[in-house]
């Protein structure tokens, strides 16, 4: 039956031509290569949970009277967006779980992209020929941040509404075209009623479509280039060593898809996120204490906070304060990210292809620079909690803000030499970071003590086997004697080798 079906498809699409190549595609084994998979799989979780939410969410800023089951809100006039989000949380069966999974999934999505990007940066995986893929990845990060912000804004609650107000002000601050941009996006003066439906269609259709396209490009280029890999285990620039797609990698990665989903489901079940029924409906004249965006917007919020109160005024025109932290800073950040592969190639005069990864310690300059820059954004991220910290630590706001202003400059200056030194030290200790083999201390008959290495499972971890070329693996002929029980073409390891 399956043979027949396969034959039918194969005769029409020639799957078997090249299909074997796909089965043989090698995926190098290293834990850090799974971070990008987390991003991919949380995107799948986001799409699935998001589809569920669109069935119930009403993207409208028009007023309705809340008449649902949540007592404190009954009889209040709220927007349809807020009303439907409350109903998803309380009236739709499983709605709260899916909503919380969607929100957690978004946080995991952006987080895993950032960590994946750090991995690619510190191991030098962005170098030739992967510069374009690095840029596609950076674009995906921008889109993920944007879409996260849009989705966070949709429920029209008091906290996210304040965020929308700030985004209007930020758009307005762009020189020359700012007020036009803001008016075109919001369909007029703030707040208007257009922004929720517009954010909705951008959030559920436009950006996801672009993400789909770019993900295709990202993975397509990955197949074209094949994976990078660390040195060792016979890895060279002109090969890839690891697990073949079928069946080892497929099992592991599909398992990982379910693990990612499972963690998201548990977070959605057990850890409350964005309880908008506690925040209340957004009104432009209301505001809440400790207004904070989702974590991935924290560095921007922090930048808005630590920015001194400067503006540039010249006759008839001005550049507003918010422009510098909220437009210029991300502009410079992402320009540097986009250009980094070229900048580094220029600095190191390295124009050759690289498929073997660097260990961060072997590139102390890059590692130290990356750590310092990352530390800068980390301080900004911390600064977005300055009011909460001041309150929690009973310090004056003034002191906390000035501390962060100073730390922004001081921390990167300290991190750079420290990271550099750590790299240099690690270089001199070749076994640092390697798993140590266990020893057993034995007493000899003469009474002397000797440390004897524990016997390892033969070949496991310590003994590195030669990689076997997948194209040379011809199990069919190897199993020819057993052809009766093992039909040709089936990749099966005989029982005695299991």
């Amino acid at each position: 039956m399956i043979d027949k079906l396969f034959g039918w498809v194969d005769d029409r699409l020639a799957v078997s031509r090249g299909g074997r190549h796909l089965l043989n595609k090698i995926f190098p084994d290293h834990w850090s290569f799974m971070i990008g998979e987390i991003a991919l799989y949380s995107f799948i979780v986001l799409v699935l949970t998001g589809i569920f939410l669109t069935l119930y969410f009403v993207p409208s800023a028009h007023d309705v009277v809340y008449q649902g089951s949540y007592k404190p809100l009954q009889g209040q006039t709220v927007s349809e967006a807020y009303n439907s989000t409350i109903n998803i949380s309380f009236a739709v069966r499983g709605g709260l779980l899916i909503r919380q999974m969607h929100h957690w999934g978004a946080n995991i999505f952006v987080g895993s992209i950032v960590v994946h990007m750090l991995r690619v940066f510190f191991t030098g995986a962005f170098r030739k020929p992967r510069e374009v893929n690095w840029m596609v990845g950076a674009t995906l990060l921008i889109l993920a941040i944007f879409n996260g912000f849009l989705g966070y804004s949709l429920p029209d609650d008091l906290i996210s509404g304040t965020g929308i107000r700030i985004s209007f002000s930020i758009l307005e601050s762009v020189p020359i075209v700012g007020s036009y941009l803001a008016f075109f996006l919001f369909g007029g003066a703030y707040p208007g009623t257009a922004i929720i439906p517009r954010f909705f269609i951008i959030h559920v259709l436009i950006i996801p479509l672009v993400i789909f396209g770019l993900l295709g490009a990202h993975l397509g280029m990955l197949v074209r280039h094949k994976h990078t890999q660390f040195r060792g285990r016979g890895a060279r620039e002109d090969n890839v060593v690891g697990t073949p797609m079928w069946p080892g990698f497929i099992a592991k990665t599909t398992g990982f898809l379910f693990l990612t989903t499972g963690v998201t489901a548990l977070l959605g079940a057990l850890i409350q996120i964005n309880p908008i029924w506690l925040y209340g409906q957004y009104y432009p004249y209301k505001v809440s204490y400790a207004v904070q965006p989702d974590w991935y917007m924290g560095w921007l919020d922090g930048a808005l906070r630590v920015m001194p109160s400067w503006e540039i005024h010249f006759p008839g025109h001005m550049i507003p304060n918010a422009f510098f932290p909220a437009i210029l800073l991300p502009g410079i950040t992402f320009t540097l990210i986009y250009m980094w592969p070229m900048i580094e190639a220029k600095l190191t005069r390295d124009t050759s292809e690289h498929h073997l990864l660097d260990r961060p310690r072997d590139r102390p300059m890059r590692t130290a620079l990356g750590a310092a820059v990352f530390a800068f954004y980390f301080v900004l991220f911390g600064a977005s909690a300055d009011d909460v910290l001041a309150n929690y630590l009973s310090l004056s706001l003034n002191f906390v803000l000035w501390t962060f202003r100073v730390l922004c400059i001081v921390v990167p200056i300290i991190v750079f030499p420290v990271a550099y030194k750590i790299c240099k030290e690690l270089q001199t200790a070749p076994l640092a970071g390697k798993r140590k083999s266990h020893n057993v201390v034995m007493r000899t008959a003469e009474g002397a003590y000797v440390a004897v290495p524990v016997e390892q499972y033969p070949g496991y971890q310590e003994e590195e086997l030669e990689p076997v070329d997948v194209d040379e693996v011809d199990l069919v002929s190897a199993l020819a004697a057993d052809a009766e029980t093992n039909p040709p073409g089936v990749y099966r390891v005989p029982r005695e080798y299991r």
Binding site: S173, F258, A269, Y285, H317, L356, V468
Partner: protein, 317 residues
Amino acid sequence: MPDAPVTDGAQHGDAASKRRVPIDAPQFDVAAKHPDRAAAAVAAAFFVSLVAFVGFGAAYWQNAKNYWLGITLGVGMLAFGYGLAAWGKYLMPRGPFEEPRQLMETKKEEKELLIADFAVRGRVAVKRRGFLVKFMGAAAGVFGIVALFPLLRSLGPLPGKKLYKTTWRKGSYLTSIDGKRVKVSDVDVGGIMTVFPESDVGGALSQTVLLHVQDGGSVVTMKGRESWGPQGFVAFSKVCTHAGCPVGLYEELTQQLLCPCHQSLFDIYAGAVPVFGPAPRPLPQLPLYIDSSGHIRAQAGYDEPIGPGFWERGGTT
């Protein structure tokens, strides 16, 4: 640690040199030390996931609480994922396997061939048809520009003067959020109230904080504003000049207004000039007067654009 690259002499793609890998090569051993135990663990995982998924179905059917739905779904997914991943990791050939990789760099001849093909065919196609290219370019260019109008221009009205003016007018009654005209007696000393013009209650841009900062007497925040703060009342735009959040917190002790978004502090008696945080300009002050019936009213609208800056706003100190 820079390992020396392993220079194994295997040549790829050369059929003659293809060596068959014996099936008893250690690379085909399963990775687990004790395959039976690993298989038992995988089986247990799948069983747990089966039970959890049944639980999820039951929880959904019974309309159970959120955490029951999530725990059953999450545990089911985790157990299922663990089972699959462990199967792949421990019960399959431990490898490693390798495949050859072609470097991306192409040969000079390959490049030249492609470029030559492209150029030659292109030259044939447009030979003595240069005017077609120009016409086509002109038509496409015009379309590109024209297409921008509906794309951009229909999205919203031009800003015009909307960013400069609020709905406050000469004589506007200060009106509370429930639509009542505010009288002197409505706000105690040390009190704060958000007010709007009567025609625009709840307005995002006209929102104004009315403060009763002292018991009687005229509050003079600045030269030229001698009459703006009658009987201990002052009013400022509630829209922060930094990023537009409502400046909603009033500290009576220090006579300061605080914006909770980015913690800008404004000194009320100095005309709401920013004394701390990122806000670059003072909050515009609404000139007040008190009519014969005790209602608080606006002498005029704001004399400068309220809220955060924008390019055309021009400089004010």
